[in-house]
């Protein structure tokens, strides 16, 4: 049989935050009407940002590429509807910094017209894996669980590695979020279709869908759909525990194997995809449709009408909030994603992107604020850490910026799940300490690299200057010798009519420029250019004079 265990393992640590799924679990997925304006960021995935391939004022069709991927780990961005690109500008997005990102701002024409020629594979289950992967890549599909890693890369195991098990992640361990649960309940058939395509692309026959047992309806629906497929796909119920939906933890629970530190799931023969991704892959491969919408849970005790919405990428958060009846009074925090790993929203103008799984409006009672106190060494963070790290020591090291030690203490194995911060009685922002530490180490290394490059460039320049100098000297000497010989020859004939201009003599730069530009022969705009050159020469002269005057003044 395959590598999935019949008896589940337990991963170390974990926490049990209040689930709060009931708020939106009952709301069926509704399709949100098209927004007045869409703000499509050109970097919605893990990897390199896209480059814009449309211009301001250009008319685009639904599914047309707006941003072309740069490099291998990247993913294209498509127009979510047909309309006009009114602007390409920096616009607020969901990012912890609150800084803006380059977005294509699209004004829909209301026709919602597809780009002609988009089409999928007739019979994907007989298609070449490479063809499937190509469609997934072109459709801009990324991990919809929130990590937004380009899916086609996961679908192509590196040489020498075999994908034995396709693990479909329906865990949705983050509190509040219900979008995956609703997808499984309502579109189980589509998910299974997507799974079949992925099994074909991965050339494997084993598939497990992991679902936490607080979603009985989803389990039921998936079981029915899996049975209809015939035995290949197994649905397993998992006991509720955060962060079970984390790739590494889920793999350990289902297979008993641990992904090696710094490695990939495929190193232990597993490929993990989210249920939403499976559905997106189905649409891409069957119908050739790029990823232009996703299901978003709008929840929290501060929203009037909790919902699960199918939203076009680029729709501003404010539109979602308005569609759900607005905010209740007393909302202090808006979160994009789940409450454990999501990003606090700076402004509701920021748009929904591929990785947005939820928009949570949280009241003060849901997000208790407390001041950081000293560590009392209770060890609860160690008990909670799913990676078996020592968060208490790491935080101490980060606070004192002992970066080398910090890296030694396995900082880069931290998955930032937030379990340690969640349980800490002293309210120490452990995760932020670790993020700070990771960035500090990265910055330091970059700085070092930059310095090395500068050093190398300095040395190269010095060498070049020396070489050029040598060259010059040599040429000068040669010329002198040549001239002397010539003179000798000339002296015997005619006296020299004019002095040979000295090599070292240089005309003032400004005049030289004007002279050279003025001397440009022919051309329709000759006069204009001459005028401009004269002007620039005058300006340069004036600036130079000013500088000389200033220097004289300084000298006084």
């Amino acid at each position: 049989m395959g590598i999935a265990l019949s008896v589940l393992r337990r991963f170390h640590g974990g926490v049990h935050p209040p689930e709060n799924k009931a708020i939106s679990a009952g709301a069926a997925i509704e399709v949100m009407p098209l927004a007045k304006r869409l703000f499509v960021p050109l970097h919605q995935h893990f990897g390199a940002p896209c480059e814009a391939v449309v211009q301001t004022g250009e008319k685009v069709l639904k599914g047309q590429i707006l941003g072309q991927p740069q490099g291998f780990v990247s993913s294209p961005v498509h127009a979510p509807t047909s309309g006009t690109v009114v602007s390409l500008e920096e616009f607020p997005v969901h990012h912890p910094s609150g800084l803006p990102m380059l977005c294509a701002i699209l004004e829909p024409d209301g026709e919602d017209r597809w780009l002609p020629g988009l089409k999928g594979l007739e019979d994907p289950e007989k298609a070449e894996p490479a063809a499937i992967r190509r469609l997934i890549q072109d459709a801009g599909i990324v991990g919809l669980g929130g990590a937004t890693f380009p899916s086609f890369i996961k679908m192509s195991p590196p040489k020498g590695k075999v994908a034995e098990l396709l693990l479909i992640n329906g865990v949705e361990c983050e509190p509040y979020l219900t979008c995956d649960a609703r997808l499984m309940e309502e579109r189980a058939g589509g998910i299974v279709e997507g799974i079949r395509i992925m099994l074909r692309a991965l050339q494997t026959g084993e598939c497990v869908i992991g679902i936490e047992d607080n979603k009985p309806a989803a389990v039921k629906a998936m079981e029915v759909a899996a049975k209809a497929d015939g035995g290949r796909i197994r649905v397993v119920r998992l006991p509720v525990m955060y962060p079970q939906g984390s790739e590494k933890q889920l793999i350990e629970v289902v297979t008993g194997r641990q992904v090696p530190s710094g490695g990939l799931p495929v190193d232990v023969g597993v490929i993990v995809h989210n249920v939403g991704t499976a559905l997106a892959i189905r649409d891409a491969v069957r119908e050739g449709k790029p990823l232009i919408s996703r299901v978003v849970t709008v929840s929290g005790r501060g929203i009037q009408r909790p919902a699960n919405l199918e939203v076009r990428i680029g729709t501003p958060v404010q539109d979602l909030v308005d569609h759900c009846g607005g905010l209740k009074p007393g909302v202090v925090k808006l979160v994009s994603g789940g409450p454990m790993m999501g990003v606090a929203i700076h402004t509701t103008r920021a748009p929904v992107v591929k990785g947005t799984s939820g928009i949570l409006a949280l009241l003060a009672e849901e997000v208790p604020a407390s001041r950081e106190q000293g560590c009392i060494r209770c060890g609860h963070c160690l008990q909670a850490c799913p990676m078996s790290l020592m968060p208490n020591e790491m935080a101490w090291l980060a606070r004192h910026e002992l970066l080398d030690k910090l890296a030694e203490h396995d900082l880069f194995d931290c998955i930032e799940c937030g379990s340690c911060s969640y349980v800490c009685p002293a309210s120490i922002p452990l995760v932020q300490y670790f993020r700070f530490g990771k960035f500090a180490i990265r910055n330091r290394d970059q700085e070092k690299k930059k310095q090395e490059i500068s050093r190398a460039r300095t040395l190269a320049k010095e060498a070049r200057v020396a070489r050029e100098q040598e060259e010059k000297e040599r040429k000068k000497a040669e010329m002198k010798a040549g001239m002397a010989a010539k003179k000798k020859a000339q002296v015997e004939q005619v006296p020299d009519p004019s002095a040979v201009p000295s090599v070292s003599a240089t005309a003032p730069a400004g005049e030289a420029k004007s002279a050279s530009v003025a001397a440009v022969p022919g051309g329709d705009d000759k006069a204009e250019r001459a005028a401009r050159a004269a002007k620039s020469a005058a300006a340069a002269k004036a600036a130079k004079a000013a500088k000389a005057a200033r220097q004289a003044k300084d000298a006084e």
């Binding site: 209770c378 937030g418 911060s421 009685p425």
Partner: protein, 357 residues
Amino acid sequence: MNQEKWVVGTSPHVHSGDSVPQVMQTVIWALMPAAVLSVLVFGWAALLVMIVTTLSAVLTEEVVTRMRGRSSAIGDRSAALTGLLLAMTLPPHTPWWVCVVGGAFAILIGKHLYGGLGHNPFNPALISRVFLLISFPVEMTYWPHPTPLFGDSGLSLSQAFGVIFGGHYPPGMLVDAITGATPLGQYRIEVGLGKSVQEALGGSYGFDYFKATGGMIGGSLGETSAVLLLLGGFYMMYRRLFTWHVPVSMLVGCLAPATIFYLVNPDHYPDPFFHLVTGGLILGAFFMATDMVTSPVTARGQLIFGACCGLLTYIIRTWGGYPEGVSFAIVIMNSAVPLIDQFTRPTVYGKAKNSKK
């Protein structure tokens, strides 16, 4: 849309709601049944000892935090807990000045000298008890018989005031008549004189397991009821303040050698149950060794720490210079905690040698 004023903290955005004061308060609640019982068993004097010690600790905390330019830390209740824990290790008739010195020492020397809560290497209550035991051996080994609060033989409230604050007993009350050795002390003295365990504890001393389990024996305030202390310990484990590792390994560390020696020579070594219900083993295992600040954070480290605490306790009780060794054992092991933590680091996910298949 104009200025939006959202809170934009870092994730996670939710919190368990646990806090330091809550942790401390839970321990105080867990200690309450045993504290109440000790007042019932030893009378008003016990209550006065608790109040004076706790007040001393809390006032010292307030003064020291002010001197250090910090905001008041009384609210976190750790000082109150330290005072109460210290009181539980004191004899029922401890003079007021010993209580005051003890409470102040625990907070000032035991905690703030090292940098305050979270930085002290030793359990403040225990380091203070050790200090008092060495400095004032007479006052600290003065063990009155249980004199129930609502009994005829006990002291009245005003008499208790006289004992604690004046150091004088009511006329007609003979000091020798109301005090005696603790079971552990009795065992060490008499067995040291060549008697067997049965002779030492039986006969006129009349050691009774039932009374000992219920707490009706001489000793410190907290050396009384094994049952109620266990109850408090289980409550704290239920509230997830600590795991089973430290208390269980400490009990095993002490009782396993006790069992072996008892089986080898029951005349010379008392049975393990005696070790369990007398002295401060349970108080130590559940309330002292589990102190978060001064015990290891890793599960394996906690097992080593607890087992060593238990073993040292047994060694001191059986062969050491003092009849009771719990506080010494824990304080000694406290000093080894940083080392234990370093050598018992957990294996990080994905870094086990056999993780790659």
